[in-house]
């Protein structure tokens, strides 16, 4: 089976770093790449950093999460320019990526992860 990783694109540096810490607690073995902000100070996202997140992952298959719409657009551009398989999920960035990471760590396959992502707002 191909290795599956997670990438997260947020508008804010701290949100990305914080989600990374939250996720690693329950998914120590999952490759999680995050990027937040245009840089540490400036809020926003860019194509370059989204592409770097994809490229930095050791995984070929990626589940991608984002906070606001413009992050999604940059993710989409980046995935078109990458030869990795990237799927973007329109779910809450913190809760969704946490769920996916916990399930990946438990060895759940992508199809079943997607089922749980769909009903995840019921979990909260």
């Amino acid at each position: 089976m191909e290795k599956t990783g997670i990438i997260i694109v947020s508008h804010v540096y701290e949100i990305a770093e914080g989600i990374h810490r939250l996720i690693k607690e329950v998914a120590a073995d999952v490759d999680v790449q995050v990027v937040g902000g245009v840089d540490i100070k400036e809020i926003g996202t860019s194509f370059d950093t989204a592409l770097a997140a994809i490229n930095n992952s050791s995984a070929k298959n990626l589940l991608a999460f984002y906070d606001l719409g413009s992050a999604k657009m940059n993710l989409e551009m980046a995935m078109e320019m990458s030869d990795k398989t990237v799927k973007i999920y329109d779910v809450p960035v913190v809760e969704g990526s946490y769920t996916a990471a916990a399930l990946l760590q438990a060895g759940v396959n992508q199809e079943n992860i997607e089922e749980q992502l769909e009903e995840m707002h019921n979990v909260k």
Binding site: E25, V26, A102, L103, A106, V108, N112
Partner: protein, 195 residues
């Protein structure tokens, strides 16, 4: 023996057992949660110990209230408000009664009020619920506790962090059920239910 002494012995003993089993609880929580239930409880019971060591408690209600407040402040995980609500609820009940069955039932109500878990959701409630029922019937034994704990293994979690795992939570003992099992084993051993 005055009326708070055996309850204090219970909590002191519980504290020791938690500290001793910190790594075991973390291990259970690693399988289906974030791996900190032992560390959380360890931090909580040490804060409780610090508070009650050397203090004089004439009234059970004061003892339980101090325990509850320390737990909600210090545990840091879901088990904090849950155990905390249990003891705060017991503190309220202790104004009216010293009866273990009454007090423990109030504790269970505190846990359920806070966490809204029904039996069967793979939480500490799955230990608290059968144990409190047995205490009310005067029939609590170690095997009631053991069976209740063991029953969480085959349950699917639908509350708390483990619920994010869905089916994958099956096959593991719930960490909060384990710490609750320690709570009631030490309750038996401290003789709180005797006489």
């Amino acid at each position: 023996m005055d009326k708070t002494e055996k309850w204090i012995n219970w909590i002191t003993h519980f504290t020791e057992v938690i500290i001793e089993h910190k790594d075991d609880l973390n291990g259970l929580d690693s399988a289906i949660g974030d791996g900190d239930h032992g560390s959380n409880m360890d931090r909580g019971v040490k804060a409780v110990k610090e508070k009650i060591d050397g203090a004089d408690y004439d009234e059970l209600t004061d003892l339980f209230k101090d325990i509850g407040m320390r737990l909600v402040s210090k545990v840091g995980g879901a088990s904090g408000p849950l155990y905390g609500s249990a003891f705060i609820s017991m503190a309220k009940a202790a104004k009216e009664s010293q009866e273990p069955a009454v007090l423990l039932e109030a504790g269970l109500e505190g846990v359920v009020k806070r966490g809204k878990a029904d039996p069967g959701e793979k939480t500490m409630v799955d230990v608290w619920h059968p144990v409190v029922n047995s205490v009310k019937e005067g029939s609590l034994t170690q095997s009631v506790i053991d069976d209740a704990l063991e029953s969480t293994k085959e349950m699917k979690a639908t509350k708390g962090r483990a619920s994010y795992l869905g089916e994958r939570s099956i096959g593991h003992i719930d960490p909060g059920a384990q710490s609750s099992a320690y709570l009631f084993t030490t309750l038996l051993e401290a003789g709180v239910l005797d006489d």
